[in-house]
């Protein structure tokens, strides 16, 4: 069983500058997040995997195929949704997606069928018969996604898919991405600055910094860990009393954001005991959740890591 993306000492240079410094990793998740500050090399990595940049050393493999020697085969497996605008303004949506599907190897009739299917899937209706130059930003993003999936790739590269979208369009795009991920036969590589989106969609995260891998973590595992940290929001009663009682039980407390309370429960203490106190004091516990290391914390920790090397 091949890892989806395997980096094997991958090095990419632009002239004298080394952009990607011998990256080595094996990414196996259904949806892999790619994070990092500007200039860390995310776009360069994606471009190198697509074959737009030749590695100066090392290599990478996508589903077992080497990007150096089998670049063409690799690209037939990939669907790419670039960050920037990418369209031909004089063509209609269907026309462009159809042509791109044919260039990927689909026969004529199938290309047209799948172009329409792709448009249905991303939620574009009559608009597909209009010239792409007239589309709004949300429509252009949807059309970009349509051309990425029309030829039925095995790996999808999404670069900032929610860029510029308004809230309902963002939600729809995230839903689409989650649906695609949940299918199981299509792997995703999601590169984004919005940690929230990556958290919602991805199960593994690769964090780059300065061309090195700063962190590589498995979000599923992170989520399952750490049941002892809580975050509470209370209302009513005498807040001080509640806190005192809770501390008496052995908890450590600290103030959190937006007036909430952060708690560390000692071993053996049950959440129900907190409720007992609340019932006794007529205090409402308006919010309660287990606080695990959010992606933001992981990211910031990775950035602080001195030389950014894993």
């Amino acid at each position: 069983m091949h890892p989806v993306i395997e980096l094997d000492g991958l090095e990419v240079r632009f002239g004298q500058r080394v952009i990607l410094k011998r990256l080595t990793a094996a990414l196996t998740g259904r949806a892999i997040g790619l994070l990092g500050p500007n200039g860390a090399g995310k776009s360069t990595l994606i471009n190198a995997l697509l074959g737009f940049h030749k590695p100066s050393a090392g290599t990478a493999r996508i589903l077992g195929r080497d990007v150096r020697t089998h670049a063409r085969e690799v690209r037939s497996l990939i669907g790419y949704m670039p960050e920037n605008d990418a369209y031909i303004s004089t063509m209609t949506g269907v026309h462009m997606v159809r042509m791109m599907a044919e260039l990927a190897g689909l026969p004529r009739e199938h290309a047209l069928e799948r172009a329409h299917e792709a448009f249905f899937y991303v939620g574009l209706g009559e608009v597909r018969y209009r010239a792409i130059g007239t589309y709004s930003l949300g429509m252009k993003q949807a059309a970009k996604l349509a051309q990425a999936i029309a030829h039925g790739p095995k790996v999808l590269f999404l670069d900032e898919p929610t860029n510029g979208l308004d809230p309902p369009a963002r939600t729809r795009m995230i839903q689409l991405i989650q649906e695609i991920r949940d299918r199981g036969d299509l792997h995703l590589l999601l590169s984004s600055h919005l940690l929230h989106d990556v958290e919602d969609c991805c199960d593994q995260v690769l964090i780059l910094k300065d061309g090195n891998i700063a962190a590589f973590c498995n979000l599923e595992e992170e989520r399952r860990a750490n049941r002892r940290f809580l975050e509470l929001e209370t209302r009513g009663g005498n807040n001080g009393d509640f806190l005192d009682a809770v501390v008496k039980l052995g908890c450590e407390t600290a103030p959190g954001v937006q007036g909430r309370i952060k708690l560390v429960m000692p071993e053996g203490l049950d959440v129900r005991q907190l409720y007992q106190i609340a019932a006794g004091q007529n205090v409402q516990i308006r919010r309660l959740n287990h606080k695990r290391d959010s992606l933001e914390d992981i990211f910031l920790k990775a950035m602080e890591n001195a030389n950014g090397r894993l």
Binding site: S76, P82, A86, I88, P107, E117, Y121, D185
Partner: protein
């Protein structure tokens, strides 16, 4: 009752042959060009001259027509069907081809570059070479139909009417037409592509197609005057083409000096290999310009 959910499904069907993928581009381009009426009319109008030539050839061999025109029985030639005839045909058609390239050329590459669509093309199992060849073939096909195809047809007609021996004796006319046209087609197609890739505004790119010829020849002329030499002629592209044609059509015994627009200069001439070298350099420059612009991703310094 069965309810069907609209969902993404992977593609399990067959794929087209890898080598034939580049043909997708001309197919789509022709669909698009078909809709442009002016272009269609122009293309059709460009066949008028060859038709006249064919008519002349026919008339030459049709005694009744000749007598109608008042020419005596003995005199065979109204117009002699020779090198000049075919070279003029090629020359005129090549000028029409230049106009065609100026209309179509700018729209070939610039729309793809305008909104970064190239990264979509190249993210597929599709190489830069295939892209360039695909786009060039649009021009090549149309220009072939305008230049050597009518030329060879006229040659065939003349050969049919004159006999096998004439064809054997004048094979150079056929090969000159064919190869001469191709030299022009390649140069023009590369130039059109390079300009389309570098110049965003279509009218400007179209204008430059003509401009390149005039500016280059003016520059060449300037060099000639300033340096008192003939080397400036290497900048005169139409001149170069003319020289190439003369060589292809006539070999070493040159009687003509090119055709129409493509005049080979009289007087002291530079060695032929320099002509070919200059054309080769022009092609190389165009290819280099294309290579710079046709990329999946820009390299930031």
């Amino acid at each position: 009752m069965a309810v069907y959910k609209k969902t993404y499904r992977p593609y399990e069907g067959e794929l087209t042959a890898s080598w034939s993928r580049f043909l997708v581009i001309p197919r789509y381009a022709f669909e698009e060009l078909h809709g442009k009426r002016f272009l269609t009319f122009f293309f059709l109008a460009s066949f008028i001259y060859p038709l006249i030539c064919a008519l002349i050839i026919y008339v030459q061999h049709n005694t009744s027509a000749l007598s109608l025109l008042g020419v005596q029985q003995g005199a065979r030639n109204l117009i002699s069907i020779n090198v000049t005839f075919f070279m003029s045909l090629l020359g005129w058609q090549s000028v029409m081809a230049l106009f065609l390239a100026a209309f179509i050329g700018p729209g070939l590459v610039s729309p793809d570059l305008a909104n970064n669509a190239l990264s979509l093309y190249l993210a597929r199992p599709f190489s830069r070479a295939e892209y360039v060849i695909g786009k060039m073939s649009v021009l090549a096909i149309l220009m072939s139909l305008m230049t050597w195809v009518p030329g060879l047809l006229c040659f065939g007609l003349q050969g049919y009417l004159e006999g096998w021996q004439w064809m054997r004796d004048n094979w150079r006319l056929a090969s000159g037409t064919f190869f001469g046209a191709w030299v022009w087609i390649l140069v023009l197609a590369l130039l059109a592509m390079a300009l389309s890739a570098w110049v965003k505004w279509k009218p400007a790119a179209g204008g430059l197609m003509f401009g390149v010829f005039f500016v280059a020849s003016a520059f060449g002329g300037l060099i000639n005057v300033v340096q008192r030499t003939h080397w400036g002629n290497l900048f005169n592209i139409s001149n170069l083409i003319g020289l190439v044609w003369v060589q292809l059509f006539e070999g070493s015994n040159q009687t003509t000096n090119g055709a129409v627009f493509f005049r080979a200069t009289q007087g002291e001439q530079l060695p032929m290999w320099t002509t070919w070298a200059a054309l080769g350099l022009l092609a190389y420059i165009c290819l280099y310009m294309l290579r710079r612009k046709i990329r999946g991703a820009e390299v930031v310094r």
